[in-house]
Symmetry: C2
Subunit: 397 residues, 2 copies
């Protein structure tokens, strides 16, 4: 059994805060502080440029990638770190489209994170070969997979509602129709068991600042299925994806396997923080995390529905059909969330009307769930959200 | 006058090391250690997700961009940070090509950093509209600018030889021929006075881990000339470049001005380190840096040529025609550099035969130059480079 008392002690959460936003930004892992201080002084400070070799910086994107690979069912050597999730989406989609050159449709859904859709729009605009981005409702995805589709590109867990796509079934349907499947695991990696290889996903990408606690703007990851590793064309053909980066040839030749998905110089400091954060997963069973998360979400839904009038559940009640978050709708969602935050319960708001709560068993338990519900109840019953300062929009919501 | 004794005290360089590789990776700024520790504990640790607003994380790419803008002659609001230099090259070139849609040639030179050429190859491969990358020798660039050229894309300072292009003259010639100019300032920013606006550059990009001392893999920057700010199409159209990122619209609409060159979530920890590193430039005159750098390079060339037989100068003797580095050629360049490093003189090697030394007046003076030459002299005179361990190639050279 996973010892959640142990994992809880690995994170710094301020006194008096109930943190239900680890699905947006995970909390600070205690170990990151010393790790990054050591990296600065003992690696960069002492070794300077030699750090690329002696401190293993150049190998870091693959080494850390393999650690994440274990959490998403990826074989060793199929995941590499770097850039942001938006960039990784672009790489994956570009490569997938190249592998299916005769089709014209990129199929996605309105529950995909907007940046994925935007990157697809930008890529399609650049490619200019009559491609089309088709965006359907999440529940229409399965039916929309047909023989026009080049690539199915969806996020497994809907960032607004928490609805979970069936990765294996949709990938199978995509393949049967002659399409490739690109999966965004932003709200999956570290949240629930994922098996990219078993599901036969062609490409998968994700960020590491949510359930993986890598810090604000932590580097993203990309998985390429072994069957595509040597044929995928890198659209973003940077020097570190070259077969021999330090030969300084004038012509690009794609590196072996997943290395070709590297682009520029790796973000060593950020990867060091992420590496420290990943230590929390040692000895943790993702099945235990999933069971605990479903339990916490169920409890939250039951209590909120029983005690907080006016909130409409936006997430399915079926634990196995959602990710590790619960959203409720309310016309005053923004102000309600501000009132919660003012009282130490941190979730977030997603336009137009959803208040969103992430449940992260590594550091959240029943006590926090019940504490949050009590505060939400008082806000709803006494109309505490109805104060002018709670209606003022911040830059980041 | 710039007080270089003050700036020297701002960096940590190990006892016994003469660091002549700040053109590859700048040394650790002392201030970065406390700054990043505070950011972790006081911002991420305490504010968690609220850090995006209360700690100013979301505004950081523009705020830090403006600090770099001051060093390269860019008006306020024209520079933004993010991603790696390779990604920024892609963005700049894609936007420039879109602004000149009827031409087919991207003109560059063999002294451009290979990743710039590779990214151009990848982009051209994606665009597939008959574009061609034409790579000439550096001294042939001017003559090669003609009415077939869509975009001139060059690095101001040659990473191998230090040869400096005339940004203003080449840009003027490009414009006269109806082409746009994209400048890579990797070896310019923080090394010499740059005036992107005065030179009328259309786009400029650069990294921050060399002369700007931002740490391994520090974020890159992009400058867009004000005249293109509202028309440049973002090929990498990520959510943070959207007009209203937190509206979560399904369709991309480019943000105002330089904001559209933002892509994904900003690398806050890395930007915090860079921000601390940039403090070193307060009160520093780039003209003083340039004068000191030319003096140090001249001294190094004179002393090496007088005392170290067998090394062939690969850099021009004319201070105003080079960047802030000096390279020498020798068939055994790799082994010679290893012998130097083993004796505490850190430069680097660039295939096939160049040993390269960067001169960075913020923390390097005449004493270091003379110390380095003395060690190089003993290596060359006594053939100390001829040991098997100096011939073993490291992963990163």
């Amino acid at each position: 059994m996973t010892d959640f008392a142990r994992t809880r002690a690995l994170f710094e959460i301020p006194e008096g805060v109930i943190y239900l936003d680890g699905n947006s930004l995970g909390p600070l892992p205690v170990a990151a502080k010393k790790r990054v201080a050591d990296m600065l002084s003992e690696e960069w400070g002492k070794h300077l440029i030699k750090g690329w070799n002696v401190s293993g910086w150049m190998a870091q994107p693959r080494r850390v990638g393999d650690r994440i690979g274990k959490l998403i069912g990826a074989p060793e050597g199929t995941v590499v770190m770097g850039d942001t999730l938006s960039i990784k989406v672009y790489q994956a989609l570009a490569a997938a489209l190249d592998l299916n050159p005769d089709r014209k449709v990129v199929l996605s859904d309105s529950g995909n994170f907007p940046s994925d859709l935007y990157m697809a729009q930008g890529l399609i605009g650049s490619l200019g070969r009559g491609l089309e981005l088709k965006v359907v409702e999440p529940e229409e995805v399965e039916a929309a997979i047909d023989e026009t589709v080049a690539v199915l590109m969806v996020t497994e867990v809907d960032y607004r509602t928490g609805r979970l796509h069936d990765m294996k079934a949709l990938t199978q349907k995509a393949h049967a129709a002659g399409a490739l499947a690109v999966w965004d695991l932003a709200h999956s990696a570290g949240a629930l068991p994922v098996d990219v290889y078993g599901a036969d996903a062609d490409f998968a990408v994700g960020c590491t600042y949510k359930y993986l606690n890598g810090g604000p703007g932590a580097p993203a990851f990309i998985y390429v299925a072994p069957k595509h590793a040597e044929t995928a064309r890198p659209a973003l053909s940077g020097w570190l994806g070259h077969e021999a980066p330090f030969a300084f040839d004038l012509d690009y030749r794609a590196g072996q396997g997943i290395d070709r998905m590297r682009v520029g110089t790796p973000p060593v400091i950020a990867l060091t923080v992420l590496d420290a954060a990943l230590d929390a997963w040692e000895g943790v069973s993702m099945l235990d995390v999933r069971a605990a998360s479903i339990g916490l979400c169920d409890l939250f839904i039951r209590e909120v529905e029983g005690r907080c009038p006016g909130l409409e559940l936006a997430t399915t009640r079926h634990g196995h059909q959602r990710g590790s978050q619960v959203s409720f709708r309310h016309p005053q969602g923004y102000a309600i969330m501000q009132a919660l935050i003012a009282r130490g319960v941190i979730g977030d708001f997603r336009a137009p009307d959803a208040i969103r709560f992430g449940f992260t068993p590594l550091y959240i338990g029943e006590k926090e769930v019940l504490g949050a519900v009590a505060i939400l109840e008082s806000i709803m019953k006494d109309g505490l959200w109805d104060r002018p300062e709670y209606h003022r929009k911040a830059a980041v919501t």
